[in-house]
Amino acid sequence: MIRLDLVLLLMALAVSLVGFIPLFPWLGTVPKLFLPGAMLVRLFTQRHGYRLDHRFVTVGSVAMFIFYLLRFSLADIVGPAVNLLVMLLGVRFLGEGSARNYLQLFLLALFCLAASSLYSLDPLFMLYLGLQVIIFPIALVLLTCHDRDPSAILVPARFRSLLSIPLVMLAFSVPLLLFFFIILPRTQVPLWNFLAGSASKTTGFSETVRPGSNATVGESKSVVFRAECVRLSPGELYWRGITLNRFDGAVWSRREPPAGERFAPGKGRVVTQQFILEPVSPRYLVALDKPGQLSGQRGVISAPDFTLSRRTPSGGRSAYRVDSVVTPMTRGRLGSEREFYLQLPERIPPWFREQGRVLRERGGSDGERLTGVETLFRGEHLLYATTGLPVSGEPLVEFLTKNKRGNCEFFASSCALLLRLAGVPARLVGGYLGGEYNQLGGYYVVTGEQAHVWVEAYLEGTGWVRVDPTRWAVNGGDLGRGAGRGAFRSFLLAADTITYFWNRQVITYDLERQMELFTETGRRLQGTRLPAPKRFLTFMLPAAMLVFLWWGVLLLRRRPSREARLIKAFMAELRRLYGVEASPDAGLRELTAGIDSPDPARFVEIHNGALYRDRPLLPEEMRELRGILRRMKKGER
C-alpha cells in the first residue's frame, strides 16, 4: 500500500533540492543551512507525528520577509530576493501538509530554479529543468488526489495507473516545450536588464594596452568565444577585436579613425564564421582578421580600420555571423590621414628617440624600415614571457635593453612606437591568437589566455600589413600553437561541444534568429512542391494500398457476425422501448418475459429456434427478424 502524503513529501523534497542546488553557490550562509535543516525537521516531524504550531510558521515567514525587504537596494535586488525565496521554501517545510502549502512549496522551488538562471547560464540548468519537468507534473497530480483525500492510501496497481497520466503528459511536454520556446515573443533589447547583470561579468580583452602595469599577466582559461568555421592553419588564426591608434607614452587607446580612410581586405579566401561570444567586451566584437559582412546582430558599426563595434553596449552573450577575408594585408592608400598614425607621445624615452633617428636616417622604403625594426628586435634576443615583466618608469626601454622579457603588449607597443619614430604609420590591434579546433562540433574554442596584441604597419604602395613582433622573440615560434593533444584534452573538447550547442541553440536564441526561423519556415512552406506524379505513383500507391488492405483486414476481423449484430440492435431497442437492460445472468427469454408486446417474443422465438438447433438463421428467418427490428425502431411496442 502506498501513502499519498508520504509520496508527496518525497516529491516536495526532490523538487526543492532541484531548485536549491543550482542556487546554492550564491546564497548566504543562513539560507544555505536553513533549508536543509527545515527539510530534516519536516522528515522528523512526519515520522513521529509531531505538528508545528502554524502561528510560529506564519510569524517566521513575516519576520524573514521584513528582514530581507530591508536589505533590498537598487544595486542588489537579486541577492536578497533569492535568499528570501530559499528561506520561504524552508518555512513551507515547517508548515502543515495541506494542499495549499504544498502548492506554495512547488512554486517556490520553481522560482528558485528560475532565479538561478540570473546567476549562471550553464548547460547544467537543462538537467535541473528536466528534473523539475519530470517531478512537477507527478507531484501536482498527486497533490490533486491528496487534496481530495489527504489520508488516501493506494494499492500499487492504482498508483501505477495514476502515475501513467503524468508520465504520458511528460512525453508530450518536451516537444511542446520546444515549440513554446521557439515562438514566445522576444524583444530586440531587454527592457529592464538589471536582473541579467549578475550573469554577465565580462572577461576578455581590455580596450587599452598598458605595458608595464603588472609584473605578471593573469591568464584566464575560461572560454571567451567559440567560432564555427572551417579549420585554418595556425598562422591564419588572428581574431581581430579592437584597433588602438593613440599612444600617450604609457597607454595605447582608441580614437575614432580619420574620416577619409578607406581600405579593403587584401587577397585571401573568404571564411564564414558563426560566433558565440561570451560577455567579452560590452562594445567590440571579434572576427577573423579582416572582417567583412556581419549578420545576426543589429546596431553594429564596421569602422574603416576593421573594428566591429556595437552602437549600444551589451553585457550579454551574443551570436553573430561574419564573412572574413583571411589575409594579413589591406588594399588602399593613406592620404592626409597618414599623420594620424604617426602621432607620438610628448614624453619619449631617449633610447627610443635615438633608435628612431637611426632608422629614419638609414632611409629606404617603409618595408626596409620595418625590416630594420625586426633586425633590432631579433638582435636583442628577447624572450616571450608572462611573468617577471618590467614594471619600472620606462618599462619599454627596460624590456628592450635590460630585462628582455615581455608579453605581446611589450613587443607590440615597442614595435609600433619604433615604427612611428622611423616614420612608418603604425597601430596596435587587440584580439586573440590561435584557438583549439573541436572536430566534433566543427568550431574553434578560444580562451582568455589567448588574448594577443599585434601591430599593423602601413607600407606605402602595399597598404596595412600585419606585423606580429612577438614572433621575433627567441621562443616566438610556438606562439598560437595551442595546447597539446591527449585523451583528457579530447574528453574536455567533447564536453565543450555540449556547452557550445547549448549556447548556440538556447542561450543566444533571440529576436533575430526567431525572425530568420519564421521567414525560412514561411519560404519553405511556400516552396513546397508535391512529388512528381510518377514518383508519387511508384512509391505512394503501393504503400497506400498496403495500409488500406491492412485496415480492411482489421475491420473484417473486428466485425461481429450477422447474428451478433442483430442481437445488438435488438437489445438496443429493448433498452430504448422498455428499459430492459442486458444482463449476463439472463437469457433473451427472461429479459422479454415481462414485455406486453408480441414482437420481442417472436424475435426471441425465431432466434432461439436457430440457436438451440445449432444452425445459422435461415434467410426467411433473417428477413422476419429484420422486419421486427424495423417495426421496433419505428417505435411500435
Partner: protein, 297 residues
Amino acid sequence: MKTSRTSGLRITKAGAVYVGVTLLLGFAAVNTGNNLLFLVVSALLAFMALSGVFGWRNIRGLHAVVAFPDELYAGRECFVTLRLENRKRYLPSFLLDLTLTSGGSASFFMIPRNGRETEILPLTLPRRGAQTLPWARVSSPFPVNFFVRWTGIPVDGRCIVFPQPLPWDMADTEGDRRWGVGDNLRRKGGDGELLTISDYTGGEPLKLIHWRLSARSQGLKVKELSAPAEEPVMVDPLLLPGGLEEQLSRAAWLINRLMGHRQLPVGLRLGERVIAPGESRRHRLRLLTALGCYDPA
C-alpha cells in the same frame, strides 16, 4: 425534456496562482531576454496546455447507466445503482464527480480504461409515469487542481415511476368489493414469518431492509415476510375520493396494502382497461405500472 450537454470549466484559486506565476515569469523572460527563463515559462505553458488536454480527455468517453429498483414511487426516496463506464481505450479516468439532473450525486476515484465502477446513491423522482434520465453532469479537477472541467454525459436510465402511495381510511368503503372492502382489510397482516431474503426493490419499508446482509453484498437486501391468502378484490381508482392524482395514489397504496400485507388477489379497472386479479409480485408491479402510466387523454 432537457437534452443540453454543454461543457465548461472553472478556474480554481490554485489555477489562478499558476496562471499568475506563468505570466510573471513570462514578463520577466521577455524583458530580460534570458532564454533560461523562457525555458521555464515554456515548460509551465506546456504543462498548462497538456493538463487542459488530459483534463478534457479525463471526462470524455464516459457513459452512465442507472439501474432503478423495480418499485419506484413518486416523491419517495429510493436507492439506485449508478454504474459509470469508461469507454476510452487507453486512458483511465480519475476523480470524477457525477451529478444526475434529477438530483443525487456520486464520486469515483478511478475508473480503469474500458472499465466500470458502481456506486449506490439515493434518488427521489417527483412525478409518476415513464421517465428517462437524459444526461448527467460529470466534473473533475484532474489531472491538476487548476481547472475544474465538466460536461454532460449520456445516461441509460429509463424507469416507470409509480404514483406516490397515499394512505387513507377505508372505513367508509366497507362492503364495496370493487375497490376491495371487507372486515379482512382492517386486520393486520404482512408481518408474519420470514420467508426469504430478496433484493431491495424500492417499495419496501426501511424496517424490512436487512442491513447486515446488505453490508456483505453488492446491493440492498430485504426480508420477505409471509401473510395469509384472501379473496380476490377489484380496484377501480376512479371511484376513490379526490382528484385523479390523489385517486391513483390511494389506489397504489391500496394495491400494496392488499397484495403486500394481506396477499389478496387484486385486479384493476382503469377506465376501459381491466386487469384480472392476480397475486404474484409481477402482477402487483403490472398493476402499479398501469397506474403510473395512466393517461386519461
